[in-house]
Amino acid sequence: MIEAKDLTKIYKSRRGNRIAVDGISFSVGEGEFFSFLGPNGAGKTTTIQMMVALLTPTRGTIAIDGLDVVSYPHQVRQKIGIIFQDPSLDDRLTAWENLEFHGRLYGIDSKTRERRGDFLLGVMGLGERRHDLVRTYSGGMKRRLEIARGLLHSPRLLILDEPTLGLDPHSRRSVWEYIHRVRKEVGMTVFLTTHYLEEADTSDRVAIMSAGKIVAMGTPDRLKKDLSSEMLSVETENPEALTSYLLKTYPALDSQIRREGENLLYFPLPPGGDLSPWDLLRTLPVPIREASVRRPNLDDVFIHHTGSALKGGDTEGEKHK
């Protein structure tokens, strides 16, 4: 469904060139749910803009459903439904008018517009409010309306660019319920970008993006298994001493130790040897308050590949705006 080869975007400016997307290649199959996971500025949105022909790649190609995006922008756009990171509704119009206008811009006949608009508003739980101005909607409702709008022209590929950015946890959950529902019922190809791990965790395959490059790609399970080690969390009075001890004893832990809050350290079991978590904990020279062991999650995968944590991406997003 999506085929990207050596895709590159360089923004040229007087202050020098900035490489936003650095020669990435990936392919997404029909019906697949594929995620780009990465912090802000990793190049996720730029990739999407090249997918929908809003930006021209500096180098490389991208094709949707076999059609090169640069050569056939309109045919490609007809196949894509996109939910942007930032709001893109006309809030002075009603929900129905937003859908109606969208349908017309995509050249859809009035009967289909009526039928699908009616149906999608129902699915998204907005049927009752269809003739209200969008400015009276909550953030979650606006997002759901955007999803309905993105699906109106029966796209083959649904692109979700940070679909839950800026939503409160409750609306975020409800938006995801709807996305999953659509996916389950329709099985269309979904391309998601996110910096929430739990969102990427539900997808078929994840590509981890950092500084314009794909640093790891695979199913979430595969990526976690590749770490092939358990994660330890240790609460101690003296995290500094523990950190320097760990780094000295296990150089492989370099940039893999994460500190959470005042006293909590978080790190993978050092690779190699048959060191058990218990062995390691027993030999620590500093007093430990509490320790636990668990399987790695995507956050650990991300840190392993990029050397920095994803957390805090949400607030960065706010600042970015």
Partner: protein, 278 residues
């Protein structure tokens, strides 16, 4: 093979949508963007009333204050002599068209700021259609605004025939299209509405002052005369004054040709610039 749930049929199944040809889709797109502007205008009637006030200040305070000091501004078509307020009236009609039309440019910048422009840009629609829809929408707004002022003509002892009124209306459309093209041209590349407002001050006010809306164009000092000839609005004002009171400074052909030339140039430039914008 499990049976697909019923919803799947409704979400992607059912009869496939009948897609319009690219040309029809562009036409439908232009109509849609135009209709959107009209709906927004109607929902925002307060703004319509608000922008009614400035022309009234010009007509009654500036016009009322100056008219005792001004002699006759020419001979009206009806044979009477033309007072300053009567002279000013077509100029103020053109002014209200100008100010509203320039708004179309800032409307594009706003669409960019609130994100709606992205929705339009990822639609399978040519950029040319987007620009044309925007120009038509803005021009409609400005003509509605101008018509509200035009309807005040009896207050200034003007008695244009119905044909002349229709003519004035057509001239307003022409002015609206030309000035909206100017606004859109300035707006397509701008990303902040504040920047646009600043830019507009450097453009709208000179266009207005040079247009001959406030004073006759026939005895201007050389440089001012040249500058006013470069102002598309001066031809619009001239046509409008000819239609409403029968006084004019250029020939009809010059007026019409110049207006159309400006309109075409600005429109084409907006399309080219917009097509090149990322």
């Amino acid at each position: 093979m499990t049976e697909k749930p019923k919803m799947a049929m409704s979400l992607l199944g059912g009869p496939p949508p009948v897609l319009a040809s690219p040309f029809r889709r562009d036409m439908m797109g232009i109509y849609t963007l135009w209709q959107r502007d009209v709906i927004r205008l109607w929902r925002d009637r307060i703004r319509l009333v608000g922008s009614f006030i400035q022309p009234l200040l010009f007509l009654f305070i500036l016009g009322g204050g100056l008219s005792p000091r001004m002699g006759s501004m020419g001979v009206m078509r009806s044979g009477g002599s033309l007072g300053y307020q009567g002279f000013l009236f077509p100029g103020v009609v053109a002014m209200s068209v100008l100010f509203t039309a320039s708004f179309a440019g800032v409307a594009i910048v706003w669409d960019r700021e609130v994100g709606f422009l992205k929705e339009v840009l990822v639609a399978p629609l040519s950029r040319t259609a987007v620009v044309l829809g925007k120009i038509l929408g803005g021009a409609t707004n400005s003509v509605v605004q101008g018509s509200l002022i035009l309807l005040l003509f009896p207050l200034f002892h003007l008695h244009p025939s119905p044909e002349r009124l229709i003519l004035a209306f057509l001239v307003m459309i022409l002015i609206g299209l030309t000035q909206t093209s100017v606004g859109v041209l300035l707006g397509v590349r701008m990303t902040s509405s504040q920047g646009f407002m600043v830019l507009m001050n450097f453009v709208i006010l000179p266009l207005f002052f040079l247009s001959g809306a406030l004073y006759p164009l026939d005895r201007l000092p050389g440089w001012l005369s040249v500058a006013s000839r470069l102002d598309p609005l001066s031809y619009g004002v001239d046509l409008l004054r000819w239609a409403l009171v029968g006084v004019h400074y250029h020939s009809m052909v010059t007026d019409l040709a110049s207006l159309c030339l400006f309109m075409g140039t600005m429109g084409v430039l907006s399309v080219i610039l917009f097509n090149k914008t990322d």
